[in-house]
């Protein structure tokens, strides 16, 4: 396999039906109106020399290499900035043009180091390529003129260098930062010959607003902006197309390797989720996969107080099988269970739930989505009939109003955030509902029309008020509702009640009624309005209600079933959607079909040769409760650090301590493995073979770039445990697992590895009705038939601020770190976020005598931890915020047992706390975890 090189058409594709026909070098080309001469030529297979043009950026016209001859035009226009007009006749190669192009290259090379042979990008440099293309043989200016060869290199970024001596001032990096990423961190400073790239106000990249997304590195045509790994390891020699294993955006990457060593991860232009863009995690933070902390051999111990003993695979698997059977023999079939991971592939997750259902003989399988997006599954299924978002990411390009609720895309879903920001810069309007002033509210060239700064825990009151305005101000799309929905009249009566008016709930939400009304009018009267939401919606005691509330609002305004609209969960982890799809919930078989459905069960029973239980099993919190009361005694945990990530740490550790067997399958020893009896080493995404399904239901291939460092694929281990328990379970490869999923699950009927290799990716449902998949759902009707309006009563959480705990703690993520940090903390990303900080409003800090950087104790009624304070008026008064990326912080030591009424999704977003100044000591481990 060799390096994959996508074709660069020079300028972006222009949408549109109308076409123009032009003649280029005698070839007739038909292109959409507005297409540049350069792109039209590229489509006709004619490459025009270029340096400042690349098809991810708007044309700029600075390098002057792409000059062409056009009949009837004076001079030599630049083909990148010249749009095709009907009948245009273009010549791209004439002696005069050749002369001009050589002249330009001569100038470039007169101010460029002549170190090609020792340059890290030798062979992958557009400047070098162009010198060859134009036939530059001599630089008549010599090399002793004024130049930039002595400019210093900025190595402040952990991942890439900026070597100014190699810069050709093409501005591609600056434009990528502006147009692709939308951060506007880079600029040109100086004039004329002194023009150079500067980060921010001229400091280093690290000191600037740079978010290290890599777009500049990607755009640079020379070695000026260069991954340090390329400098250190040399140019890669082959690429493997795969999918990022961080957030739910699911970016496609080319893993570029030398031998089996990953040199760099390069975003793949034809990847539908990211279209060539990336963020600091996916692009650069892959070093954890080869981190020395990785445990590569299985380990076993009788008691959790014993030291670990490394064993061979056979012994570990036999031990697990034997102990599981013994526990079932002693305590019943329902005494064991498993948890699947949203970080694992669909195939790995499917294997675990199959092991639980067929080999364990129960439905005690749950997934870490329980603690993030289970209310999405419930709420959207109740209202629309399917447990998934309605749109593809691209749809946002057609949105006129974007309503972001309880999501922080620039940190948690950065690549999609860039798409949102681009649309906003084009003029779409933005409404943000969030207690914090997240970056989207105001950032370069972006400003939300409305920031509805609600108190944590009052989402439902707010969404009801918005629906109330829609219904009482005549903003309902009556035609849509009549044609497509049911139970509207009853809901209309419910929501019209005066108790839902913005004025009535103003005191609850803290949002001025006039703002709610104005924002609602904006949303409801837009041609296309879309809702994007995150865990700020789901992780509440009314998470499911809120999901249904948003579904109601979108239906009532007719914002469902076409591009630019919809209700879209931004999934936290790479495969949240997939792990849910794969039957990870205790009440559902793959494809969200209830275990009580005889016909569905029959499909699996026939194929698996076992009778399946028709009753739902235990959810994760139920497992902990059952463990404490003694009826649940063994747990298989796939790739999730439940001790760090689940709420009320003390409760979790008590449950785990009470169990007879805890099996952890993970990359690293973690907080949970402290309570484990068996550790089964897992594989990183670079070793996995399978698929991830992203937040837009897109099934992407994850291709192994190296063999499992552990010697076995995770699904193989699962199969072997099942076999050790007497259940025959075997696949030759991951493709066979997907084939089984396709056979058993109608929404996946058309999916296979072969198909994905052929078309790149598909969005489920993918079957005979939709062989190419389904980018947008509910177009001709809701999956459940009619969209159902559900009365969404606002039931306040029981978690209230009190005199003892007067502040509300809410939690979230930061750009550079990911979840519990197991991966990102083992990369250079910690340069940006070495510790979790407690953000608090200056007023709340002042009254407690807390200054920026002080260490404070954070106490709730269930626990206490300590961390340092960052004073920031992005917080509202009365609300504090922290991240949970570092185990030392133990943010979940303080979170409570409250959970979503329908799904038990924990209420991470609302905890009553108090903050007090500590003696200046370094942050310490949380008491519960130090034991």
């Amino acid at each position: 396999m060799s390096l994959i090189k996508e074709q660069d058409y020079g300028t972006p594709a222009r949408p549109g039906e109308a076409t123009v026909s032009v003649e280029i070098d005698g070839k007739t080309v038909l292109v959409p109106e507005g297409t540049s001469v350069m792109r039209a030529a590229a489509e006709a297979g004619i490459d025009i020399p270029k340096l400042c043009a690349t098809d991810s950026l708007e044309p700029f016209g600075s390098c002057r290499l792409c000059l062409v001859d056009i009949d009837g035009r004076k001079g030599s226009p630049a083909s990148c900035t010249t749009p095709c007009t009907p009948g245009m006749k273009v010549r791209t190669q004439t002696p005069k043009l050749a002369e001009l192009r050589r002249g330009v290259m001569e100038l470039y090379i007169s101010d460029h180091p002549l170190d090609c042979l020792t340059c890290p990008t030798n062979g992958d440099c557009e400047l070098q390529d162009m010198a060859g293309v134009v036939g530059l043989r001599e630089v008549r200016y010599g090399f002793d003129g004024e130049n930039h060869l002595d400019l210093p290199t900025d190595s402040s970024n952990p991942y890439f260098d900026y070597d100014a001596s190699k810069c050709i001032a093409c501005s591609r990096c600056v434009r990528a930062c502006d147009e692709v990423q939308g951060t506007f961190a880079l600029t040109l400073e100086g004039r004329g010959f002194a023009t150079k790239i500067a980060a921010g106000a001229g400091g280093s990249f690290m000191e600037s607003d740079c978010v290290s997304c890599g777009a500049c590195v990607q755009a640079c045509p020379t070695a000026t902006l260069q991954e340090r790994t390329v400098v250190e390891l040399g140019m890669p020699t082959r690429s493997v197309l795969t999918t990022c294993a961080y957030c739910g955006v699911g970016c496609s990457f080319k893993a570029e390797l030398r031998g089996d060593e990953v040199v760099r991860m390069v975003p793949y232009k034809d990847g539908k989720a990211n279209e060539g863009h990336s963020c600091v995690k996916g692009r650069f933070a892959f070093g954890y996969a080869s981190h020395p902390d990785r445990q590569l051999k299985p380990m076993v111990r009788e008691r959790i107080t014993d030291p670990w003993r490394e064993v061979e695979w056979g012994e570990a698997v036999e031990y697990v099988g034997k102990r599981m059977l013994e526990i079932q023999a002693g305590h019943g079939a329902g005494a064991i269970g498993g948890i699947t991971s949203s970080r694992c592939t669909n195939e790995e997750v499917y294997a675990v739930q199959k092991m639980v259902r067929a080999a364990f003989g129960n439905n005690n399988v749950d997934t870490c989505a329980r603690v993030c997006h289970s209310p999405t599954g419930y709420g959207l299924k109740q209202t629309y009939g399917t447990s998934a978002g309605t749109q593809d990411f691209k749809s946002v390009e057609k949105a006129d109003v974007i309503l972001v609720i309880g999501a922080n895309p620039t940190d948690a879903h950065p690549v999609f955030a860039s798409r949102i920001k681009r649309r906003l810069r084009q003029g779409a309007k933005l409404i943000v509902a969030d207690p914090r002033r997240i970056d989207l509210v105001r950032s370069p060239h972006i400003e939300a029309q409305h920031h509805l700064r609600l108190m944590p825990g009052t989402n439902v009151a707010l969404i009801n008020a918005m629906a109330h305005v829609v219904v009482t101000e005549g903003l309902v799309d009556r035609e849509f509702v009549a044609e497509r929905c049911e139970d509207f009249d009853e809901w209309e009566r419910f929501i019209s009640g005066p108790e839902h008016s913005p004025e009535a709930v103003e005191e609850i939400t803290g949002v001025p009624a006039a703002d709610v009304r104005a924002a609602t009018r904006l949303y409801a009267s837009a041609p296309n309005a879309t809702i994007m939401y995150g865990l700020g919606v789901t992780e509440h005691s009314q998470g499911s209600t809120m999901v249904m509330g948003m579904a109601n609002l979108a239906m009532a305004t007719g914002n469902i079933g076409r591009e630019g609209v919809g209700v879209n969960p931004l999934r936290g982890q790479n495969n949240v959607q997939g792990s849910c799809d794969m039957g990870s919930f205790p009440h559902e078989l793959p494809g969200y079909r209830h275990v009580s459905d005889d016909a569905v069960r029959n499909v699996f029973e026939t194929l698996w040769g076992r009778t399946l239980q028709s009753e739902p099993g235990l959810r994760i919190p139920n497992m902990f409760d059952a463990a404490i009361d003694g009826s649940f005694r063994a747990l298989f945990v796939q790739g999730e650090d439940i001790v760090q990530s689940d709420p009320n740490t003390k409760h979790v550790t008590a449950a785990l301590s009470a169990m007879d067997l805890v099996v952890v399958q993970d990359l690293f020893l973690n907080e949970t493995s402290k309570y484990a009896h068996v550790f089964l080493p897992g594989t990183s995404f670079l070793e996995k073979d399978g698929t991830f399904t992203n937040a837009e239901r897109r099934i992407n291939r994850v291709r192994p770039v190296m063999a499992p460092k552990t010697g076995k694929h995770e699904w193989q281990i699962v199969c072997e445990i099942a076999q050790a328990m007497g259940y025959p379970m075997k696949y030759d490869d991951a493709a066979q697992i997907m084939d089984e999923i396709a056979i058993t699950t109608p929404t996946f009927a058309g999916v296979s590895f072969a198909k994905l290799d052929q078309v790149g990716s598909v969005q489920w449902p993918c079957n005979d009705n939709a062989p190419e998949g389904t980018p947008i759902m509910h177009i001709d009707g809701f999956v459940r038939g009619r969209g159902r309006f559900v009365d969404t009563v606002y039931v306040p959480t029981k978690e209230r601020s009190t005199r003892k705990f007067p502040l509300i703690l809410t939690t979230g993520r930061i750009l550079s770190q990911y979840n519990v940090g197991a991966q990102t903390r083992r990369t250079g990303n910690s340069a940006w976020h070495p510790e979790d900080l407690l953000e608090m409003h200056p007023h709340d800090a002042e009254v407690r005598g807390v200054r920026d950087g002080d260490t404070v104790s954070l106490t709730s009624r269930v626990g206490e931890t300590s961390l340092r304070v960052k004073i920031d008026d992005r917080m509202p008064v009365g609300v504090v915020y922290t991240t949970f990326h570092h185990p030392v912080t133990g943010a979940n030591v303080v979170t409570t047992e409250h959970s979503d009424w329908a799904t038990n999704c924990p209420e991470y977003k609302v905890t009553a706390v108090e903050v007090a100044l500590r003696n200046p000591t370094p942050a310490t481990a949380a008491p519960a975890m130090a034991e």
Binding site: H587, L618, A626, V795
Partner: protein, 76 residues
């Protein structure tokens, strides 16, 4: 620091019931029962049914009514 524990099945049943307070009690009980039947492990349902009969369980009356509609739970 300790938490005074309401047994989880009681707390959960009450939280579900709270969502249906505005509905007609009979219909609400039906929906609550259906929800519990769909999502709860049989051993939790069994506890609920057992406690629903007992005075002082702390169960919401709607939850009690719903429990009465649940079929006897069989352990999986």
């Amino acid at each position: 620091m300790t938490t005074t524990h309401t047994p989880p099945h009681i707390r959960l049943a009450n939280e579900i019931s709270a969502q249906f307070q505005q509905r007609d009690p009979a219909a609400a009980a039906q929906e609550i029962a259906q929800h519990i039947q769909s999502f709860w492990d049989p051993r939790m349902r069994a506890k609920l049914i057992a406690d629903a009969g007992a005075p002082g369980s702390g169960l919401d009356p709607l939850a009690v009514a719903a429990a009465a509609l649940l079929p006897p739970a069989v352990h999986g």
